[in-house]
């Protein structure tokens, strides 16, 4: 089973079209192995990005360097998944 320990989901609130374009370059790149749960399209809508632990520092720095506002939506993805699994197993029993 794939694990996501330390992975975070970041909620990004782009403020301008230029920031949207920067986020699109991030989305199209493959280096950070990002999973966009919601996609950059307009500054009206938040963009949620699942960031693997290994890419966290680089992605957060990218956002900070470009003054793109964000906050952590899910602190540790695996913690939520573990809880979900516990619930599933308990209910199955």
């Amino acid at each position: 089973r794939k694990v996501f320990t330390g992975d975070q989901v970041l909620r990004v609130n782009a403020k301008s079209e230029a920031q949207i374009q920067l986020l699109k370059t991030l989305e199209n790149g493959e280096v950070f192995k990002l999973d966009f749960w919601t996609h950059p399209s307009s500054s009206d809508l938040p963009i949620d990005i699942h960031v693997p632990y290994a890419s966290l520092y680089a992605v957060q720095k990218f956002l900070q360097d470009n003054e793109i506002p964000f906050h952590v939506m899910i602190q540790d993805l695996q913690e939520l998944l573990d809880k979900e699994q516990e619930d599933l197993q308990r209910n199955a029993v």
């Binding site: 794939k2 996501f4 919601t38 399209s41 809508l45 949620d48 699942h50 939506m73 599933l88 209910n91």
Partner: protein, 310 residues
């Protein structure tokens, strides 16, 4: 009446085998209303089932509802389970549902991407696509909501097999999509096509592959807004309404664009809860509230379709 569907826990997520077993219980509990129709098999040869709600008649006008085309969107499938039971138990009790099923058939596909769904339970909870092998790539799967013949291969879909929005080699190449296309075309009398996704709290209508308005934009917008009013009346959950392209982003090859272009006027897509606290990992204690409010919106659309034949 109801068999062991009475003891089924709708407030938790279930594995595929449990859902398929529950379907048999539903059919057994409501033999004069529900039948289980196998419309084909998935890439990994799992059966693809539709629950057909029908009170008789031949090739009646029908409503299509699918859930779980993106496998990690568990709340979609879980809500569809609850709503199937709601429709079955309300038949003969709620005049609206009784009237609806007296005139129309409802086809409800609860697990539209069974391979992906099974994979989310065993290997990768975050899996979105089908599980097909892509020739020339180590990455598997096609995004089954980018594979329909509606602006196929255009903006908002990827040609990269490793992408979460990979459109596949050709339109309807995903067997899961083709099975539905064949059913809808062979039937020929579907009047509504409703697809249930998660998350973001949106009710959308075509188009996604272009930002041009559809000819029925005003009508579908009005129906959508009233459906959302009904949905929001329960818990105040806020939804946005609009075309896919205008309220989220341009996305080609989507199911409701295909259905609309193939003559199914009332084509809608729901994005269920939430707006960004849990995303695809909505806790199980929100299944029933989500399903309950969604049912109100869905029912409004179905009532409108019933009352506006075309």
């Amino acid at each position: 009446k109801g068999g062991d569907t009475k003891s089924f826990d709708y407030a938790t997520y279930h594995r595929l085998d449990a859902i398929y077993s529950w379907m048999d219980s539903m059919v057994a509990g409501h033999p004069n209303l529900i039948s289980k129709v196998q419309i084909g098999s998935s890439y990994e040869n799992r059966p693809m089932y539709v629950l057909k709600f029908s009170t008789g008649g031949n090739n009646r006008p029908a409503i299509w509802i699918d859930a779980g085309i993106h496998s990690r969107e568990w709340i979609s499938t879980a809500s569809a389970l609850w709503m199937a039971n709601k429709m079955a138990t309300d038949f003969g009790v709620d005049p609206s549902v009784t009237s609806l099923l007296g005139k129309m058939d409802v086809y409800l596909m609860i697990v539209t991407n069974p391979d992906g769904y099974a994979y989310t339970h065993t290997n990768d909870r975050m899996w979105r696509k089908t599980r097909s092998v892509n020739s020339g790539s180590t990455c598997r799967g096609v995004d089954p909501n980018r594979n329909w013949d509606a602006g196929f291969g255009g903006p908002g879909a990827s040609k990269n097999p490793c992408s979460e929005s990979y459109h596949g080699p050709s339109a309807h190449s995903a067997i899961e999509v083709k099975n539905i296309v064949d059913l809808i075309k062979n039937h020929g009398n579907f009047k509504a096509f409703i697809s249930i996704h998660a998350y973001s709290q949106l009710l959308m209508y075509p188009y996604g592959y272009t930002c041009n308005d559809i000819p029925h934009q005003a009508e579908l917008d009005s129906v959508g807004r009233r459906a959302v009013q009904a949905l929001s009346s329960l818990y105040g959950t806020s939804y946005r309404v609009g075309s896919i392209c205008k309220i989220i982003y341009q996305a080609s090859g989507g199911s409701i664009d295909w259905s609309y272009n193939n003559g199914v006027k009332y084509s809608f897509a729901f994005e269920l809860r939430d707006t960004g606290r849990y995303g695809f990992l909505l806790p199980a204690n929100q299944i029933i509230p989500t399903a309950t409010e969604t049912w109100l919106g869905l029912k409004h659309i179905m009532e409108y379709v019933r009352d506006h034949p075309y």
